[in-house]
Amino acid sequence: MNAPDTGLAPQSFKSDIKPVWCPGCGDFSVLAAITRALAMLGLRPEEVAIVSGIGCSSRIPAYTTCYGFHGVHGRALPAATGLKIARPELTVIVAGGDGDGYSIGGNHFLHACRRNVDLTYLVMDNHVYGMTKGQPSPTTEPGWSSKLAPGGTGVREFHPLVVALASGANFIARGFSGDPNGCARLIAEAVRHPGFSFVEILSPCVTFRPDQRAWKDLVRPAPVEPTDDPARAARRLMTDDGFNLGILYKGRRAPYAPAREPRTALAELAKEFAL
C-alpha cells in the first residue's frame, strides 16, 4: 500500500480523552486500527470526520483527533450521508455497534448500501447491547440467555453481510479486533474503495459476552480472494459461518454523485413567479 507520507503517526489521531470502555473491550483495538489506517492513508485529522450513533462503540469519535459527530441512537448513517453529500471532499467514516446499525438503524443500513454514497461504515459487532448492559441484539444467537430474554430470544440472527450485498453495498469485509493490523488494512482499503464500504468488525464485549474470548480461536482468513461478482459473493456469504476475515466483495458500482454546478443566480428562480 503506497500511501502519501504526511509524517503523521497513528498516535496523532488519538485524542487525550480516556475511553469509557471496560478494560479488555474489543473497541480499544478498533480505535487503534482506525488510527493506523488513517496514518496509512496519509490523511490529516481535519480531513476526516467520524460519525456515530449511541452505544459503547459509538463513543469512538471523541477518542480521535478527527472531526466527530456523536449523534442519536441508530442515525449515524443518515448524518454521515448528509455530511458527505454536503462536503464531498471530507473522508467520512461511520462507526457504531450492531444494535445501533442493525436494529434501530436497520432501515438506514439498507438505504445507505443502496444509495452508495462514498462512506466507510465500521460496525463493531459484539452480538449484544453493551451500553444498556447486556440485552440481545439482532446478531445475538437465538439461544443466548439474558435477563431480558431468559432462555434466549429464539429468533434467528441477522446476517449483515448478506443484507449489505443484497442492498447494494460496494465493498464488504470482515475484521476481528484481535487483529488490529489486519483491521487497519481493511479499513484503509475500505476508505479507498469508492462508494459505500461496509466493514463488520468482530469486537468482543468482555463484560456481557465473556464467551466471546473464544473468538480468537474461531476466526480465520477467508480462504478465497475478493470477488467483484455479486453472484459469487452471495454464495460465499450465504455459506459463511461468521468467522471468515478479509475482503469478501469489492463491487464496481459508481458512487452516488449529485450534479451540482451552480448555473443560476437566485433572482433568476423568481422569474417564474413574477407577473
Partner: protein, 573 residues
C-alpha cells in the same frame, strides 16, 4: 347590473377529468394579468387521482390571502359527488348557482341555501365546437360574470396552452361561448376597477417558503414526501440543483432530519420540510440539534391531525409539538408565516435565526398557505449574508461550547485545521468532552437558553396593525380573516387592533405587552380544538383581564365573518 364589488369569490366544481383545476388556474392568471389580487385554493375527493374536485378562486381589489364568508358563484360542470364540498362552499341568497341541465338538478343542499339558479348546457355547448371543452366554457362564463376583459382570459388560456403560448381555436371558441352565456346572465358580480399596478408574484405558499429558504442560504435539503409539504420539496429539487445545492429523498423522516444535521455540521445551511406525522418522528433529532448546537430548519406544513387525520386539509394543531415536542430542556426557534407572501420572508428569517443562534428552527406553515396559489405583492428578497459564527484557528485550545456572554460560541467547520472537535448530544463541557458533572449541565443549559433570550429579534416578531381597546391575537393563516374582520368591525364603529405573532419561540413577552398596551380585551383566534395558542400565551406573558378564545379545528379555514361577529358582539356585551 349590480354595483361593482371589491371582492368576488367563485367556485368551479366537477368530476375527474372535467378540468376544473386547469380552468381555475387560468382564471387566477387572467385576474392577475387584469391587475387584481387573487387566491385559488382547491379541494378534491378521496380518490388518489381523478375524482371530483373544486377550484375556489377569490378575486379582490386588495391583497386578500384568506377566504371570504360566502361564494358569489358556484359553477358545476356536473354534480357528481360535488355535494361533498358543500361545507367548503358556503352560499347565500345573493349567490348564483350555475349547472348544466343535462346533468340533473343541483343537490338538495345547494338548492336549500336560497341561491338563484341558472342553467348553462356546458357539455352541449362544448360539443358543438370541434375539440371544445366544457371547462373552457365555464372559464368564459366565470370571467364574464366577474366582468373580466376577454383579452385577459384569452391571454391566460394562451399562456397555459401546450403549444407555446398559442391558444387553440377550439379553446378560444369555447371561452367565447362561455362569455356569451355570461352576457345573457349579466355581469352580475363585476369586479370594481383594479387597483394601481404594483410588482406582484403569482405563487403558492410552498413555493414562497422554498424560495425564502434558498434566499436564506439553504443549499442542502433532505426530506421524505408527505402531503401537503411535498410540493415545497418538488419545487426545491430543481431549484437547488440550479444553485449548486442538493436535495436528497431520504428513506424516512428520521433519516431526513439526521441528514440535514450532518450537512449543517459540515457547514452547509440545511432544511427539511414535512407535516405533523413527520415532525413527530423528528423530535429526537431536534433535541440533538439543540444539544450539539447545529443550525437546521424544519418546515412543518401543518395538516389536520392527530395521526393521518385529514391529510389534505389545514389545521393549526401542531403548535404544541413544535413548542414542546422536544425531550429535555431544549430551547429552539418557532416561526409562523402570517401571510402567503410571508411564507418566503418567514422561512428566510428562520434560516437566519437558526444560523445565527446555532439552533433548530421550526417554521409552522399550513396546508392553507402551502397549497394556495395567490397573487401577492412581490416580496423584496435579498440574499442573506452568512450568519453563522465560525471559528478560526488562533493557536489557543479550541472550545466548541465556550460559555460566551451571548451564549453563541464559534463553530468549527470540518476541514479547518487545529479545531477538530466532536459535536455531541451527550452533555459536555466547554470543549465538547462528554461530562455528567452537574456544573457542566447547568452551564450548558444556561448557555443554550441565553442564546435565545439574549438575542434581539427586532420588529419582525409580529405584525401589529391598528388601534383600539380590543385586540385580535392570532398567528399563521387565520391572520387574513382576522385582518378583514378588524376592518369590517371598524366600519361598525368597533376599533380593534390586530396582533399576529410571527416569532412564537423564543416568546417575546415584553414586546407583546407593548403591543397590547391600552388593550382591555383580547380575542385569541386559532385553528385547533384545544386552544393551544391561548394556553401558550398564558404561560409566557400576562394577558389583559378579559380574554376570549375563538378557536375551532380544521379542516375549514377561518372566514372573516365569524371573527367579525365575535368582535362586534363582544364590544356590545
Amino acid at each position: 347590473m349590480s354595483s361593482p364589488l371589491a371582492s368576488v369569490s367563485v367556485a368551479l366544481a366537477g368530476s375527474g377529468g372535467a378540468g376544473v383545476m386547469t380552468a381555475g388556474n387560468m382564471l387566477l392568471e387572467a385576474l392577475a394579468r387584469a391587475g387584481y389580487y387573487g387566491l385559488m385554493t382547491r379541494s378534491s375527493g378521496p380518490q388518489i387521482r381523478g375524482g371530483e374536485s373544486v377550484a375556489m378562486v377569490r378575486a379582490a381589489t386588495f391583497p386578500a390571502d384568506g377566504p371570504d364568508d360566502r361564494f358569489h358563484v358556484l359553477v358545476a360542470i356536473d354534480w357528481q359527488n360535488v355535494v361533498r364540498f358543500a361545507d367548503e362552499i358556503p352560499l347565500g341568497p345573493e349567490s348564483l348557482i350555475v349547472g348544466d341541465p343535462a346533468q340533473g338538478e343541483p343537490p338538495e343542499h345547494f338548492a336549500r341555501c336560497g341561491a338563484r339558479f341558472a342553467s348553462v348546457p356546458f357539455k352541449a355547448i362544448a360539443k358543438a365546437i370541434a375539440g371544445g371543452w366544457p371547462n373552457m366554457v365555464a372559464l368564459g362564463l366565470l370571467g364574464g360574470l366577474m366582468g373580466l376583459a376577454r383579452e385577459a382570459l384569452e391571454a391566460a388560456v394562451a399562456r397555459a396552452s401546450r403549444k407555446g403560448g398559442e391558444a387553440s381555436e377550439a379553446n378560444l371558441a369555447a371561452l367565447r361561448a362561455g362569455l356569451a352565456e355570461a352576457a345573457k346572465l349579466g355581469a352580475a358580480f363585476a369586479l370594481a376597477a383594479p387597483p394601481a399596478r404594483t410588482p406582484r408574484w403569482l405563487v403558492t405558499g410552498n413555493e414562497a417558503a422554498g424560495y425564502g429558504a434558498l434566499a436564506g442560504g439553504v443549499r442542502f435539503v433532505a426530506a421524505y414526501p408527505i402531503t401537503p409539504a411535498t410540493e415545497l420539496l418538488e419545487w426545491m429539487a430543481p431549484a437547488l440543483a440550479r444553485l449548486g445545492g442538493t436535495l436528497v429523498q431520504a428513506e424516512d423522516e428520521l433519516a431526513s432530519i439526521n441528514m440535514i444535521l450532518g450537512a449543517s455540521y459540515g457547514g452547509v445551511p440545511a432544511l427539511t420540510a414535512t407535516s405533523g406525522p413527520g415532525l413527530a418522528l423528528m423530535t429526537e433529532a431536534l433535541g440533538l440539534g439543540v444539544a450539539a448546537e447545529i443550525p437546521i430548519v424544519v418546515v412543518d406544513v401543518m395538516r389536520t391531525g392527530p395521526s393521518t387525520g385529514i391529510a389534505t386539509k389545514t389545521e393549526q394543531a401542531d403548535l404544541n409539538i413544535a413548542l414542546y415536542g422536544l425531550h429535555g430542556d431544549a430551547p429552539h426557534v418557532v416561526v409562523a408565516p402570517n401571510s402567503l407572501a410571508d411564507c418566503c420572508a418567514a422561512t428566510q428569517w428562520a434560516v437566519e435565526l437558526a444560523e445565527a443562534l446555532q439552533v433548530p428552527a421550526i417554521v409552522l406553515s399550513d396546508q392553507y398557505f402551502g397549497q394556495a396559489r395567490g397573487v401577492v405583492e412581490r416580496p423584496v428578497v435579498r440574499e442573506s449574508a452568512p450568519r453563522r459564527l465560525t471559528a478560526q484557528p488562533d493557536g489557543a485550545a479550541y472550545r466548541r461550547y465556550a460559555l460566551t456572554p451571548s451564549g453563541v460560541s464559534p463553530m468549527a467547520i470540518p476541514g479547518t485545521p487545529g479545531l477538530a472537535y466532536t459535536a455531541d448530544g451527550l452533555e459536555h463541557n466547554e470543549r465538547g468532552t462528554p461530562s455528567s458533572q452537574p456544573a457542566d449541565h447547568l452551564a450548558q443549559l444556561e448557555k443554550r437558553a441565553r442564546k435565545l433570550e439574549a438575542f434581539d429579534c427586532g420588529e419582525r416578531w409580529a405584525s401589529v396593525e391598528g388601534e383600539g381597546e380590543i385586540a385580535v391575537l392570532t398567528f399563521g393563516s387565520p391572520t387574513a380573516a382576522a385582518r378583514e374582520a378588524v376592518v369590517r368591525a371598524a366600519a361598525d364603529g368597533v376599533r380593534a387592533r390586530l396582533v399576529s405573532v410571527r416569532l412564537l419561540s423564543p416568546a417575546q413577552p415584553a414586546r407583546l405587552a407593548q403591543a397590547l398596551a391600552g388593550v382591555e380585551r383580547v380575542l385569541v383566534v386559532e385553528q385547533n380544538h384545544s386552544g393551544q395558542f391561548l394556553r401558550y400565551l398564558r404561560s409566557v406573558c400576562a394577558l389583559p383581564r378579559e380574554v376570549a378564545s375563538l378557536r375551532r379545528p380544521g379542516p375549514l379555514p377561518f372566514r372573516p365573518g365569524e371573527i367579525h361577529r365575535r368582535l362586534v358582539e363582544w364590544s356590545r356585551a
